[in-house]
Amino acid sequence: MKYFHLIWAALMRRKTRTIFTMLSVLAAFLLFGLLNSVRVAFTSGSKSVAGVDRLVVTSRYSIIQGLPQSLQAQIANIPGVKLVDHANWFGGIYQDPKNFVLSFSVGPHYLDLFPEIELPDAQRKAFDADRTGAVVGEALAERYHWKIGDKIPLQSTIFPQKNGDKTWPFEIVGIFKEGKNGANGLDQVFFFHWKYFDEANAFNGHDVGWYVLRLDDPKQADRVAHAVDALSANSDHETRTQTESAFNASFAKQIGDIGLIVGAIMAAVFFTLILLTGNTMAQAVRERIPELAVLKTLGFTGRGVLALVLGESVLLLLIGGVIGMALAAVVAPGVSKGSGGMVQLPPVGAGNWLQGIIVMLVIGVLVGLLPAMRAMRLRIVDALAGR
């Protein structure tokens, strides 16, 4: 630490060059900050702590095939299942086909499966009592300026009512917040009663879309999943039961190998960055050879000089990188908002910062190593003589 000012002086020796290099590093880590969280979200699925004790039961054959209601009682009887309820896809749009609303009709206890949904008790009671009542996430309510008590018509792209009308009236009776550890995007959801949906629906045939169940103990996920699938084995409605995160991950992977695309972009970015900062460091050391020789004459060891040069390159990366990632943390929510929900960038979390700083350290050492070795091996006489 006592040599910090020496490293700093070396960096500031050519201000323009250092600043330009830092700006390049900044651009690279701005991208890293924006994209890495996307990559992580797509490769490992939702890691939200709140969902570890939930399983999702869907049709084995495809997402469009329903499951019989009778399955619910059978699933509830499996030991280890705390609570189970069903839901259906509604495919709602609000006013204009562009305004897609993520809407589900749900059974009476479905909301209890998600403790991260924070709905005031009074609003929850109002929801239970109101056949056409709906509860919506905070972000969704904000997007369309909905308030409690508003009467909202939603159109379903799939289900008309029995009278042929595709517009379903709802009344907003509750607005929920997404609690800690909630999955990203839960506050964009519109929930309403499955009973209303099923009774007024022209042709659903009383099937449900999927079941979600909560376990007593997350460790029993495999056993319970097998037990659930065994219930309908060899019938015409075989099921597939997976953990919520596996379900989300498989869905994300269908959109495409986003992880691979983002990984490839980042590889290109960092390859370029290594070349660029490597060049800067090589230049910096080349023009300072006489100075380094003087340092050695003063009694700095070869290792000491090596450490100085490495410190310089690591510091260069750290300053540019940290500013870049901080910028990403500021910009990311703006991008998500500005795109009107089209692009959802996850926030730059602690894991990301950790990974980013590790990458900065690694690249810093990598690009500093060759020039630093050169500085370490300097022969004082040759260097001072300019040979």
Binding site: A27, Y61, Q65, Q254, I265, T272
Partner: protein, 437 residues
């Protein structure tokens, strides 16, 4: 103050040039390049510039490391940009080619996609009888009532991922309606049997779709009997007999969409008016071209926006890299440039020669990046979730227009990266520069 105004002026030039540059069509740029070439070859100041540039280029070999920063940096930007745009282009083209102006698709009103739609047998019969629909030699309307369902199939490159693969139940007329589709292996499915033909794209992306293999759908075994090719969105699908698919998925006599052949493209208005006038029908109708174009809009836009955003951020990084390299290059050549100035060379040839050198390096980078992307990604097959909640297989398309876009970006980066060092070189006081080292 004067220095500040000068800097501001340079900045304004950069912005103005960027705007003009993005708007210029290629013939104008070609003309500009020719004018520049003529100036270099035939005027006094041009020839001076050329000779200064030659000196600069001849020392390039000594600065190979730092010059490669410009080339590789810009190659990276162009590569990522062109690859992303090629993905968007491929997706869009696949859907665009699927539609045509002389076929129309009818869905239940407000459905937006086939998956959401339902049409009863009565409705279908009514739709097929409307004026504007083409008839075959026997006088039957050329129309296909189709049914779209989804099956979960593992992906080939990652069997742990089960993807939604679209299965289309079609009538006999479908083969006539979609003339671009041809069987390339095996045979067509037989009506009434549980047989499927698979699209070439689907076969490449998903496991277990070889001829003779059995597939379990809705609890029943189906056999793959043929492979078809069409170079459009249908290639992502599996086709079977509509009756068989409907019975397997318990859809009875209802279907999801009706595609009709129009008597001629202009008959669409007549057909649409007839459908709208019928009070018993609540349907949406569009030409298939319009229908598929609409499906491509959202994702194409997202890919473009993301690609350009990433490209811009990378380009900013690359500009600073280029600036660094060129400032260093100018600094090492300061004495030589000062000597030229002392001999009576004016500032212009120096500015232009430094710019030319940077832009040549940038061009090399742009060509390298574009070439690498073209070699790797042209025709690369990928798939994503399409409008019907099922996989759409498409190929990246690295078109000449995209390659040109990439090269334009490279030259823009080179211009900015070269301008400031060039001006510094030209404005260096001769006496100071000569005294340096």
């Amino acid at each position: 103050m004067k220095k500040f105004l000068f800097g501001l002026g340079l900045f304004a030039i950069v912005i103005a040039w960027l705007i003009v540059w993005t708007l210029l069509p290629w013939p104008v740029i070609l003309a500009l390049a020719i004018v520049l070439g003529l100036w270099l070859a035939f005027t006094r100041s041009g020839r001076r510039t050329l000779s200064v540039t030659r000196v600069g280029l001849s020392t390039l070999a000594q600065r190979l490391g730092s010059s490669s920063v410009i080339v590789i940096g810009i190659a990276g930007v162009v590569g990522v940009l062109v690859a992303m745009l090629a993905m968007g282009e491929g997706f869009q083209t696949t859907l665009r080619q699927t539609g045509s102006d002389d076929t129309a698709i009818v869905l239940r009103g407000g459905s937006q996609a086939e998956l959401n739609s339902v049409l009863s047998r009565d409705n279908i019969d009514l739709i097929e009888q409307k004026p504007g629909v083409a008839h075959d030699a026997q006088g039957h309307p050329v129309a296909s009532a189709e049914l779209g369902v989804i099956a979960n199939l593992p992906k080939k490159d990652d069997p742990t991922v089960e993807a939604n693969v679209p299965i289309r139940g079609v009538g006999d007329e479908a083969w006539t309606l979609h003339p671009g589709i041809r069987i390339i292996e095996g045979r067509k499915f037989k009506p009434g049997l549980r047989e499927l033909d698979v699209g070439q794209g689907a076969q490449k992306q998903f496991a277990g779709l070889e001829i003779g293999k059995q597939l379990r759908l809705s609890g029943q075994e189906w056999t793959i009997v043929g492979v078809f090719a069409s170079n459009d969105a249908y290639e992502s699908e599996l086709w079977g007999d509509a009756e068989s698919v409907a019975s397997a998925y318990r859809r009875g006599s209802s279907r999801q969409s009706v595609t009709v052949k129009l008597a001629q493209p202009s008959a669409f208005d007549q057909f649409k008016a007839a459908l709208m006038a019928d009070p018993t029908l609540k349907v949406d109708v569009s030409t298939t071209r319009e229908y598929f174009n609409k499906q491509s809009e959202g994702l194409t836009k997202v890919i473009r926006v993301v690609g350009i955003t990433v490209g811009v951020i990378m380009a900013i990084g690359a500009i600073f890299g280029a600036l660094n390299t060129m400032f260093a290059a100018v600094a090492t050549r300061a004495r030589e440039i000062a000597t030229l100035r002392a001999l009576g060379f004016r500032g212009w040839p120096v500015v232009v020669s430094v710019m030319l050198e940077t832009m040549l390096l940038a061009l090399a980078g742009g060509v390298l990046g574009a070439l690498v992307v073209w070699l790797i990604f042209n025709g690369y097959t990928a798939s994503t979730l399409g409008a019907n909640f099922s996989q759409l297989v498409f190929q990246f398309r690295v078109t000449p227009a995209l390659l040109w876009t990439g090269i334009k970006w490279a030259l823009a980066i080179g211009f900015i990266g070269g301008l400031f060092p060039a001006v510094r070189a030209a404005r260096l006081p001769v006496t100071t520069a000569l005294r340096e080292l």
